[in-house]
Amino acid sequence: MNAVLQGVLAFVQTWWVELLCAVLIVLVVPLIAGYIVLVELKVMADMQARLGPMRVGPHGLLQPIADAVKLLIKEDLIPDNADQFIFWFAPVLSMTAALTSMGAIAFGPWFQVARDINIGLLFVVGVSALGPFGIVLGGWASNNHYSIIGAIRSTAQLISYETTAGFALVSGFLLAGTLKVSDIVQAQYAGHVWYVFLTPVGFFTYLIASIAETNRAPFDLPEAESELVAGYMTEYSGFRWSLYFLAEYANMIVVGAVGTTLFLGGWLRPFPHVAWLGWVDALPALLLAAVGVYCVMRAGKQPARVQAMFMWVVALLCIVVALIFGLVEVAHASNFAALQASHSFLLLRSMYPGLYGAFWFLLKVSAYIYIFMWLRFTLPRFRFDQLMRLGWHILIPLSLVNVISVGVGLALESSLGWNRWPAMILTSIATLFVGMLLIRWNDKHAAAASASIAADNSQVEDSYAG
């Protein structure tokens, strides 16, 4: 017994940072996902000339919590004809895949569960690709026609777009020369450039593929609400439904994080080498302080006590982090020896890089997710054959060509001694040219295809007299 206890203790002692991070992910990600939903509602409202949630908490800030409570206390329904076990298991699988893949993502230089995985991003992509199994199984187990169609669509979509995403990532991996998350960011730091500038085509194909992978509009066909009611989720309700929902938003964070790490410089601040942009370092402190002060100002005006308390907690959190940022920045700038030597300052400074990196990383991920939302409220939905055509006729060839052209660019650099910039610009232009050819060819093809549908239409007419 004692030995077991000691074993556990030793385990905890060795891995306590990782364990803490893992617990944080499991606890915090659902909360963050809830708040992404709130942000989405607010962004949607902003674009649609209305206010969005305003009732629960100031500006609806407590809405996600109210929603979560509502979902948790709902009746747990499993349809009679459903396959009970798979119906139970499927959302858990989706959620597990989404959370597990977060383990290898580095949210800043410090915050990472699986620190030394040398296949880093490959692990993330591989594990998050398990998520759609949950969708397929859930759709199958529901024993409902709409669910089945949603599940089948999801499978086809995943196969098509995971390929594109993979190729797009390969172009980034080629530039970085490594799969390890921290090394990828270091490579971008050392190379003085984010890879989005070196291979813009790679970034944009990944962006599109990642929207499709997370089943977001305009690629949200598996759950197209106006066609399939709710697609694979039609029979789900309450907590199980919210697991799917959380998995979707967690997946958005994952794809956003992967895109940020590989193409947007991970936790580096914008232009880390440009001296006159040094004032950017003060931004996190100022921004957080402003949010904190605003919360303090609003706290007194809240109608309910719990709302005021919530505001105080948020304010406190923001101001503490802002202080850490601010003190370290000030100390750096002022060269104040007494302060720098003090014990508490050393503690603060030791926390600084992690928090600072996490700030920029999360900011970039948020921007990435904002693009998702923006597209969702602007564009109509694709039809399934159009989705497939876009995937197989344009994106996959384009991403393949991009991999080749990045390879050619690197070859120019290494064997002919070119500078990296001209080599990459040249190859990017070549890729764009191929992309334009593909689009033109596809337009012709699409017109022919839709004409043939119209022709078929008249043939079908006699097959069944309604």
């Binding site: 949607m44 674009m47 649609q48 000339a49 209305r50 026609h145 709409y146 169609i149 509009a217 305009p218 949200d220 066909l221 197209a224 609400e225 106006s226 066609e227 399939l228 009611v229 969702r376 409220f377 602007t378 564009l379 109509p380 939905r381 694709f382 039809r383 399934f384 054959d385 159009q386 699409a446 839709s450 004409a451 549908i453 119209a454 078929d456 239409n457 008249s458 043939q459 079908v460 007419e461 097959s463 069944y464 309604g466």
Partner: protein
Amino acid sequence: MNDLANTIDDRTPQRPDTLLGADELVINMGPQHPSTHGVLRVKLKLDGERVIGSECVIGYLHRGVEKIAENRSYQQFAPYVDRMDYVAAVSNGLGYCEAVEKLLMVEAPPRARVIRTILTELQRIASHLLWLGTHALDIGALTPLFYCMREREEILKIFEKYCGARLTTHAFRIGGLQYEAYDTLEKDVERFCRGFEARIQEYSDLLTGNSIWLGRTRNVGLLKAEDCIALGASGPVLRASGVKWDLRKAMPYAAYDQYKFEIPVGANGDTYDRYLVRIEEMRQSRLICLQAIENIPAGPIMARVGKVLKPPPGEVYHAIEAPKGILGYYIVSDGGTQPYRVRIRPPSFINLQALDKMIRGHLVTDVVAIIGTPDIVLGEVDR
């Protein structure tokens, strides 16, 4: 009805000729489905995602409006017609009032006719706006719905100021109008119309040139002109197929003969053309409103009709161009205070017949895009 509803199930044979000997799949769209616009139920027979047969089941909203008419006096029945096409109540009221006026052989005074025209054209814009928003929502564009609702709200406010009601307005009376136009009616209508052109442009910017929208609507739900005529389809559905037939020009009623406007027609008769025709119709309605408020004649608003209406025995058919198509009233009088029989020709019901022809051979996804285009309102289909 029940036998018809079951036919599809009876005819789902095994199909040994397909790969893996796959069955056909019958799915039931509605009566509770997010995009069947009310309580329409469509049974779809699918081969994969391809529609190979369909059947509409209607009647979930049947209230026996025509039968009710036989037990109400002529004036008492007027509010009931508002409840048929409840998103275009003013147009329904206009058709009914004019039909009874024809039966009574009276004519509404010019002032009443102009005000009727203004309100009816505003109602056409409101109805088309609601159609545009929900149609775009069916195709997956979330945002236009709210923009359309925003403008529709302005129109409903004008109705509310005029007669106190927003949706089921009962705005007109047999013989003219009950209410005089309120003081700032012209100003309100003009302000709305001046701002509206830019709004229509906003919708067009979002949708008309959008390549996803084009892909989803072009060559989808084709309906040839001769099919339209054979099925009796009317309104924007007919005009999108290239037939220039609009009762406002062909058999002018109210005050339409005084105004200049165009009848937009489409070329192919697909979903995209029906969209363009409706957008252009909103522009034309706006022009009609602007012309009408320029010159509203003075004078009485009510013709001389008695408190108790006793039309001479006989029958009358009167049709108007409602937002959704030709709305006809056939009224038989036996000389009493109540109609002997009222038969209503609802445009939605007749346009809905074209649905099966339009969706065959398309994918399930297209079905929702196509259900929107005849612009059906189930209150009117089932009556």
